[in-house]
């Protein structure tokens, strides 16, 4: 039997989404091949992008080995964000955990002012995640969008409960949206359909939720694989958005990541690499060493 390399070619192209403004801008997605399938026909317009996460307040439950790379700036989000740039990040992701009504409950205008200061202080695009409280985010995220008018931040989570108010503010002020749904392909497409009624599809990044290794990672893995395939192979219009894997928080919550430095690095690194292989276009991690390990393993300089 004659062997012929089973090369494939697909009809769908993931939309290329641009975040950041001017010289800070960054392209995400744009591929018409499956992750790292450089041997198939097609092209990978942009490599997988990597961001490090910064909190808007001093972290409460981080293990020593996670704080260590940032220990001198951990209570100063602006310096912390700037320091992320020492680790060759493509973007910085700011998690507004302090706005959570169950926690510090920072008011919207104060949070928005901090976002603006950080966005101005760094030379890479800024991703902003609200606390995830659908009502508080509906106050905070529109305020962030307005305060940072025209900076094209990547803002989320836009949820099915608040997509109208949050989505419209993101659109009106020239930003890009993270549409987030809980580990379900139908909910994911449904939110994209609803959002697309008034929001341009090439300004949406999808977040199907990233569970950590050992804590449901296989659900995120298979969901991202499926989304990528129905986007690239079957050309489903509502699945052709780049995928964000916001995995740092979930990984470093686990007892195993907290246990020791090396185990933590591998916990986050294996989760990130698995989700990258599944189809994530931009990955948000917490530990700079885990980030560089993953990049070096793929062979990206």
């Amino acid at each position: 039997m004659e062997y012929k390399a089973p090369v494939e070619a697909y009809a769908g192209v993931v939309r290329e989404v641009i975040i950041g403004e001017g010289r800070k801008s960054l392209k995400i997605g744009g591929e018409n091949i499956l992750p790292l399938h450089f041997f198939d026909q097609g092209s990978n317009a942009n490599p997988a992008r990597f961001a490090l996460e910064v909190l808007d307040m001093e972290p409460q439950d981080w293990p020593e080995h996670l704080i260590e790379p940032f220990k001198d700036v951990i209570s100063e989000p602006i310096k912390w964000a700037k320091k992320c740039q020492d680790f060759a990040v493509d973007a910085v992701s700011l998690y507004l955990v302090g706005t959570d009504p169950a926690g510090k409950d920072t008011p919207a205008d104060k949070a928005a002012a901090l976002v603006k200061e950080i966005a101005e202080a760094i030379d890479v695009p800024l991703i902003v995640y609200g606390s995830g409280d659908e009502n508080k985010d509906a106050e905070v995220l529109p305020k962030v969008a307005e305060t940072c008018n025209g900076m094209n931040l990547l803002i989320g989570p836009v949820l099915k409960e608040n997509y109208e108010v949050v989505g419209r503010a993101i659109l009106e002020h020239g930003h890009t949206a993270i549409a987030q749904t809980p580990l379900d392909i139908n909910l994911l497409k449904e939110l994209n359909v609803k959002l697309s009624k008034f929001f341009p599809s090439d300004r949406i990044v999808i977040d199907p939720l990233s569970s950590a290794l050992g804590y449901g990672m296989e659900y995120s893995f298979s969901l991202m694989e499926r989304v990528k395939q129905i986007g690239v192979i079957t050309k489903d219009n509502m699945a052709m958005m780049p995928i964000i894997a916001n995995l740092g928080d979930e990984c470093w919550k686990t007892k195993q990541a907290k246990e020791s430095k090396e185990q933590g690095l591998l916990w986050e690194g294996i989760t990130a690499l698995s989700l990258l292989l599944a189809g994530a276009n931009i990955l948000v991690l917490r530990h700079p060493v885990a980030l560089s390990l993953v990049k070096e393993t793929i062979g990206v300089q």
Binding site: A5, F39, F221, L266, I270, A278
Partner: protein, 454 residues
């Protein structure tokens, strides 16, 4: 590309409904053959030639290979899908620990001990590495054979025997042949010389090529010689080559029915990276990318556990949610004043709840109600997490004997079952509506526990 019953029936005698195969017609027999429910030899009227062709056509597209013996046997191959969401992956890759005969005796000792001792209970399974891979690098054949003998005598594990020297390889095989070791590497240079020796005492064979193309004539030649338990190394040198080679082999076997590549693969992160953590990350890419055997230069608790958990995750059947046993679990060392919480038995739910409780450092009882592996809200919607059924479970699980108080915390998402559950427990328990998300447990539990003590 499995063959269909209607294609098989064309190859059967078909003239007489003899029923000697035990089926009423040739068509019924063919349908059963296609689904794997019977075997070709049941039909007495097939020529040897047709029989052989049918056996070949009906064989699984990726050969099942067994390395090791008894309860430590590792079975790889016989996979049916490229992506786990299409159905499920079946035989999780064997994790092998390389032991070079150039390592000093203390290190060898340590590795043999380590692979047996590093075991991790995880939900309802026990995670561990599977194989040892003695490697001939010293140039001293007796030292290599002594190493193989030592492993054979002191463990029950299966082995991957690695030696470029054929004499040493087959001498090692003869020490442990009943353990069904994998012989590696057979290459285009040594295959002709090796075939007779392999057949002298048949065990699985690992093939090495510089490319997939180089493997094709090798597998063809060995299969024609009656050697069919093969494992392939296409010579990938880095992650990108690994993904290319693994993808091509899997596609060729499953989508194109290309028999010469219908075998499991073996991967060597141990030779691909000098850095311990990067080696583990490379191995972790091979797990979802279909390797059959993964050989590591070394591991410790911190590196083996994440890899084994990843393997478990990826090889979990996506059609069935992972569930934990219905009972009360103790988190920390709870006493009679400790909180009692109830949740459903989806493994993930249980994991999130118990680790959130653990993080508060407040000992507690987490009662896990069988809800057929569903999360709390889905379970409630499906009638598996109703007040009545939880009440029955709480009464019989014995947690009431463990605590003096009668306060039961239910997930905030099913606040509506409060009344029903109170009734089911004859109003003996006060039902407390807990946080909606596990992330809320950290804020909720300390205050609540204080009340119980108070």
């Amino acid at each position: 590309m499995p063959i269909s019953g209607s294609e098989i029936v064309k190859m059967l005698p078909g003239r007489k409904p003899c029923k000697e195969c035990g089926f009423p017609t040739c068509f019924a027999f063919a349908m059963k053959l296609a689904s794997g429910g019977t075997t070709v030899d049941k039909c007495p009227y097939l020529s040897e030639e047709v029989k052989a062709r049918l056996v070949d056509l009906l064989a699984p597209p990726i050969k099942l290979v067994t390395i090791g013996a008894g309860e430590n046997a590792v079975k790889v191959g016989n996979e049916e899908v490229i992506y786990r969401h299409e159905k499920t992956f079946v035989h999780s890759p064997g994790i092998a620990l390389l032991i070079s005969d150039r390592e000093d005796d203390a290190k060898i000792e340590e590795k043999i001990k380590k692979i047996q001792e590093l075991q991790f209970p995880w939900v309802s399974v026990n995670l561990k590495a599977d194989l040892l891979a003695p490697y001939y690098g010293s140039g001293n054949k007796n030292r290599f054979l002594a190493l193989v003998k030592k492993i054979y005598d002191s463990t029950n594990l299966g082995m991957v025997l690695i030696s470029e020297d054929m004499d040493a390889l087959f001498a090692a095989r003869d020490i442990c042949a009943d353990r069904h070791p994998l012989l590696y590497p057979i290459t285009k240079e040594n295959v002709d010389e090796a075939i007779l020796k392999i057949k002298a005492n048949l065990t699985p064979v690992g093939l090495r090529g510089d490319s997939i193309e180089e493997l094709v004539p090798l597998t063809t030649k060995l299969k024609d010689s009656g050697i069919e338990e093969l494992v392939l190394n296409p010579g990938s040198k880095n992650l990108l080559e690994a993904i290319r080679d693994q993808t091509f082999i899997r596609r060729a076997a499953l989508k194109h029915g290309f028999r010469p590549l219908g075998y499991p693969t073996i991967a060597f992160p141990c030779f691909m990276s000098q850095d311990g953590l990067k080696e583990i990350l490379l191995a972790s890419a091979y797990i979802p990318k279909w390797a059959g055997i993964i050989v590591l230069s070394d591991f410790d608790q911190y590196s083996l556990l994440p890899l084994l958990v990843q393997r478990l995750n990826i090889y979990t059947d996506p059609r069935f949610p992972m569930a934990v046993e219905e009972k009360y679990y103790e988190v920390g060392e709870p006493d009679e004043y400790s909180p009692v919480l109830v949740t459903s038995n989806w493994a993930l739910t249980y994991f999130l709840v118990s680790s959130a409780v653990e993080a508060t450092k407040i000992p507690a009882y987490v009662c896990v109600k069988d809800a057929e592996g569903l999360g709390v809200l889905s379970a409630w919607a499906a009638g598996k997490f109703s007040g009545d059924s939880i009440g029955t479970f709480i009464k019989k699980c014995g947690v009431a004997d463990k605590v003096k108080h009668r306060k039961l915390v239910i997930p905030g998402k099913v606040a509506r079952i409060k009344g029903e559950l109170e009734d089911a427990l004859n109003l003996e328990w006060e039902i407390i509506v807990g946080p909606k998300e596990t992330t809320g447990i950290g804020a909720f539990l300390p205050g609540f526990a204080k009340q119980l003590k108070g």
